[in-house]
Symmetry: D2
Subunit: 407 residues, 4 copies
């Protein structure tokens, strides 16, 4: 039995960030055994900890399964091996035992050196080119690409839990609940946006049409105008509803300003779509002064990149919408590059999509009136997301008000 063992080590904030707990959990979930050979817990709170464990499996396959699992939690083999590469035999096809990525910071041991993997996302493969390593989606795999197989030589660094900071993440913990002091949370979010921007951070908004329905579009437009937002990721619906509201004053057939029913309510939605087709594009509508306010207007005016991804549900969709979803994913990724903070508002579809593309160290705030939506995003792997269960129509105006007071 002693043959099926492996020494691993792990370091970092083992206790604080639950790293050791998760490793112990996984070993036990998989019915493995372990011996703690050495443990050195940081004496003070900023100190790093270190542990060396002997992992014991029932057979080689069992041991491999355990190791594969705990490597993903930050454990590293004591005797580090080189990554093993295998060539793709066909476009869009990975070798059978391809290494499937997490969204954590990842390094590989290749030609005796640790190389950081670029463009990190979850559920992808790693392609090695020369002394560079890239995280690549299956559709972008090319025949001949050298792809990492197995778990050897891959090292993950789980993110530290934020501590003693001043941001809303520390305030809320990781939970989502509607039973929190909303005005205070709005202030914390305002602070966080303000401070992120002040430090030169990049802030992206991912938004759904409920922003317009609930009357929060003026707030979002103002946030863009004030220079806080560096990109907008959405679908057809947000743009159509924003343009309908900006040009006809209605949303879902109701005059947003005074709440009366609109005469042409029913067809205003289609009218807005037609007017963009007539102009040729949203930018053209702005140029020809047909579109003079709103979220899309501010994006165009302020040169903020926006990507509208098509969906099967779209009316139209607008000429600006990228109807090919694989292409839209690539464009989303470009806008997300080096983002420090992503604010997701009332759209499960685009939020999960964006979550899938983000490394785990990017701050994610999700604002939605439905708790299960928030939960689902975290269940899909974007566990760093901070969920705020509130009414965006009331919450976003509060946030803007508080940001403007800071200026």
């Amino acid at each position: 039995m002693t043959k099926f063992t492996q020494q691993i080590e792990v370091s970092g904030h083992l206790i604080d960030s639950l790293i050791l707990t998760k490793i112990f959990d996984k070993i036990m979930d998989l019915q493995g055994e372990f011996t703690v050979e050495e443990i050195d817990i940081g004496k003070k709170k900023k100190d790093q900890s270190y542990a060396r464990l002997q992992i014991i499996g029932k057979n080689q396959k069992h041991l491999d399964n355990i190791l594969e699992t705990i490597y993903r939690e930050g454990a590293v083999s004591k005797t580090q091996n080189e990554v093993v590469l295998k060539k793709s035999t066909k476009n869009c096809v990975m070798p059978d035992t391809f290494y499937s990525t997490t969204n954590n910071h990842t390094q590989i041991f290749h030609q005796k050196k640790w190389i950081q993997v670029e463009n990190m996302m979850m559920d992808k493969c790693i392609v090695v080119k020369g002394n560079k390593a890239y995280c690549v989606p299956v559709r972008d795999v090319k025949k001949g690409d050298a792809i990492i197989i197995g778990e050897n030589g891959v090292k993950i660094t789980p993110p530290e839990r934020p501590r003693e900071g001043v941001d809303v993440f520390e305030f809320m913990g990781s939970s989502s609940s509607s039973e929190r002091p909303t005005q205070h949370i709005a202030k914390k979010v305002a602070d966080d946006i303000y401070n992120t921007k002040k430090k030169g951070g990049k802030i992206i908004i991912v938004g759904g049409p409920a922003i317009v329905h609930t009357g929060a579009s003026d707030s979002v437009a103002e946030l863009i105008k004030l220079g806080y937002i560096d990109g907008l990721l959405a679908g057809n619906a947000l743009a159509v509803h924003d343009i309908e509201y900006a040009t006809l004053g209605t949303s879902l057939g109701m005059n947003v300003q005074d709440g009366t029913l609109a005469y042409h309510g029913h067809r205003n939605h289609m009218d807005a779509i037609n007017s963009v087709f007539k102009a040729g594009s949203i930018a053209n509508m702005v140029k020809s002064k047909k579109l003079k306010k709103g979220i899309m207007y501010e994006c165009v005016k302020n040169n903020i990149p926006f990507v509208l991804a098509g969906s099967i549900r779209d009316d139209g969709p607008l000429p600006d919408v990228i109807t090919d979803v694989s292409e839209a994913q690539r464009e989303y990724k470009k806008v997300l590059k080096d983002a420090s903070m992503v604010i997701m508002i009332s759209t499960m579809l685009h939020s999960i999509a964006t979550g899938n593309m983000l490394p785990a160290n990017v701050k994610v705030i999700v604002v939605d009136i439905s708790q299960p939506t928030v939960t689902k995003l975290m269940d899909r792997g974007t566990w760093q997301a901070l969920g705020i269960v509130t009414d965006v129509g009331a919450f976003l105006p509060m946030v803007i008000q508080k940001i403007k007071k800071k200026k």
Copy 2:
């Protein structure tokens, strides 16, 4: 077969308020037949309509079942009979075929006269004393009470749907959705509170502890202070959390003002309870200046009646809580007498309880972050309720702000 027929008539806004539709529906649901003998639809929109129908059942029992059902929708027998009374044989026991009330305006035909039933509520019986008729809950039935049995001689007037008004009810229709312009709804609610008060109306708040958790308790306290509220119906939790927040600044272990974790967070809840027991009552705490702000404080200071109903879930409960629920129901009813408007905030338990005690013509606004909560209240018979699906911690401060602007 022609023997099993009965002529009925109905008048009012038959089309507009769906009265005729509902009567047709019920007859068909019960597989009866009908002939429209006369119909006179109001020519203009304010005109009343009138219809006379012949109802046909398969047998006498079938006919009776149909009639019993449509009488509840406002149909009246063409040949009006006197109500039939039967004595209760025992306290808390109604005769087997007792007439079970709706929450609609109800009259009875007794000794050749139409008498209005007082104290109207749903799911009760009607007791006749001399030339007065009262709606009475089963627990208050006394041996010897003369109770109406069967459906003869009872006439119901379904409420008209509000039309062309200016209030939030007309604005929203009867639906509840989170996809509405929140700021505008807040303005409408503010207008409605303001106008109701200006006309001398009585406004009651029914509230749960989420008012405090979400940071909206200052808003509710201010609404009371400004004189808009005539009564508060709640449970132990609202009072405890309000007093904890007012005396210790915390709610659920968090400092509400700055959102930091409280040192004694865990036990502050129990501390607040103990402090009321020590003072003897909430009013004593105000008198001895131990309680100096908040919802309960404003109630005491402004002589606004409040009733705290006990529940099995209570910590404590406070000495002010009425632990006997039947007694608490009686006290709730006293406060609700002649209310024009009831605002229910984040409490399904007390909202359904209150809904059960209200006649159908009282305006009811339900504010909750959960749509199913709102739906459930309507399903339970308080169908006149207007549901606003929002975050009370953001919504109520908006309402107050807008009311104060009006003054």
Copy 3:
């Protein structure tokens, strides 16, 4: 003032199907006036009713607005005019005053004849070619197409409410609630599927991945195998999870059969995608016997058409996925042609998409654990949908069990 009037008439089950109520409502919502000139309510429940009204507006524009609105509820101008046509000046562009469709049965008066509009959907325009009329989405409009403008000559027939039938729609009414006897509803749905099929109806399933996560995929696969299903509309996720479950036995990292954690849980999802790319397509996987059971397998084996629409959230997506959403919409429509019944399971995205493509007379059943999802579909215009709020993992096996007993 009398100049701004127009005589309209309407016939059908005016009371029963709320047609007259809705017309009165709309006139009053828009602050118009009306006079009922003639009304003839069907004497018996199967009889049709008829009404002739004089509509009065404040000015021509006001009158037009009212008329436009009530025409959509089934009112018809007494003096019927021909439709007015205008040519599209550019691909994808409709004339400014284009007629925007509803999902109701629609006829146009063209060259002295009533023509039925084909391919009916909501929120599109109507193109007339010779003596045919088609409902056309904006992206399919070609330069030169003759498009109906204004409201003249368009007649809508609102669907009757189902009455005295035996199906689940009659049983449930139009409401959605989780407080219904689930086993009985399952039986009604089973009856409805069985009877629809017996009468030669076409049944389409629209499904999300929760079918697999909740363990209901064997039930759906069996329903297909038994010949009840004529088409499957889904996205990438349903197919990937189904294939992961069929080939590796896992869903979201858990062995579905015994509920233990899977060793390779994390990467099985990506493994399933890779295996389809390796085979080239789902059909190829079936041919090469790599895929031997499940929903997708049964579709391929039984030649049931399936359409997988891409979304921005997709992992992969699979080679079978149509990544262009406009193209996917066209393929969805083909499968939906002449459907009698559509069963939507646990997917808001594809359900709303499908709802947008369906005429109002197609039966729609929506099964989801979230009540707001069901509500949202109806709010988006698919108001004929019957919502069943339940757990698909428990509900669908019940339905299958009950269908199999019938055979």
Copy 4:
């Protein structure tokens, strides 16, 4: 500064059960400092761990606050002091600095001995009588009771997380999600009920009226009949709906068996209440054979204790209902004594109430269609609860079916 330090120690499954993580967290949340003086992590997975820390505060008050907080997570002062007692000066009043309990296993150091506190519940005080210690609610405190003040001499043992077991808790982890294989979960719950009973465990059901509305009452009745249930805790509504269904076949006005509308639907609810008042009690109804099946019938027949707690929302309430909530709490507690497993079904009110009365080591399963309900129970301190988000009308029949197969 070194004056404000204290040595503490802690032992158990420090890593696995997150004990050390929580202690580190709390110290940092409160901005304290610590030094790890000794740590001994169990070498193998069943081994206990031990740690000794030096805690450092900014001043004595700060240090005390930190200590107070971490003592609640299982830390123990190295130099153990005796508990400090203070007499209550008045009924229902605790001394100002009373020790407020958790729901964890608790011991006190009194007269040089460790004594286990009996009747453990959260948010109460501890009364010492001779060499016994009791957990006592504020309303039961008597003048003169010796009550523990401060944190000295109190030791808490946080429960271990269940590991490597076979029950549904291990299977599900602690999360609640609707995306789990329902049939498998039903099997696990069935196993757990079966095994708990086989080992002589006591199982209590806490239930709401949705059991009846969703058609699951036959399943619950059968579970009682089969001898699996040792007590039923509910409110008025469950009993009324159960008796209405058992005697009249209806629930919420619908015939549960065939789903048709009931003639007397509207008043059946009140009829059921009246029939119990007529008989005098539920037991009398069973005796006189007026009640012959259902949940309440099986309780009476099989001598299973049931407690019906009154609430402000009650119709009636039934003569069997305890209308005083403090009295009802005492009766609930009696039934809960020594329970091994509590199954909470579709009732937030009674579930939170029961959760408040349970020590943390009792297994709690919560079944509800609403995820926020499940979350709220855990947020209220019953964090050991396992949430199953499903439709009880479909889930419970599955559980029964699977239990019966085992017999």
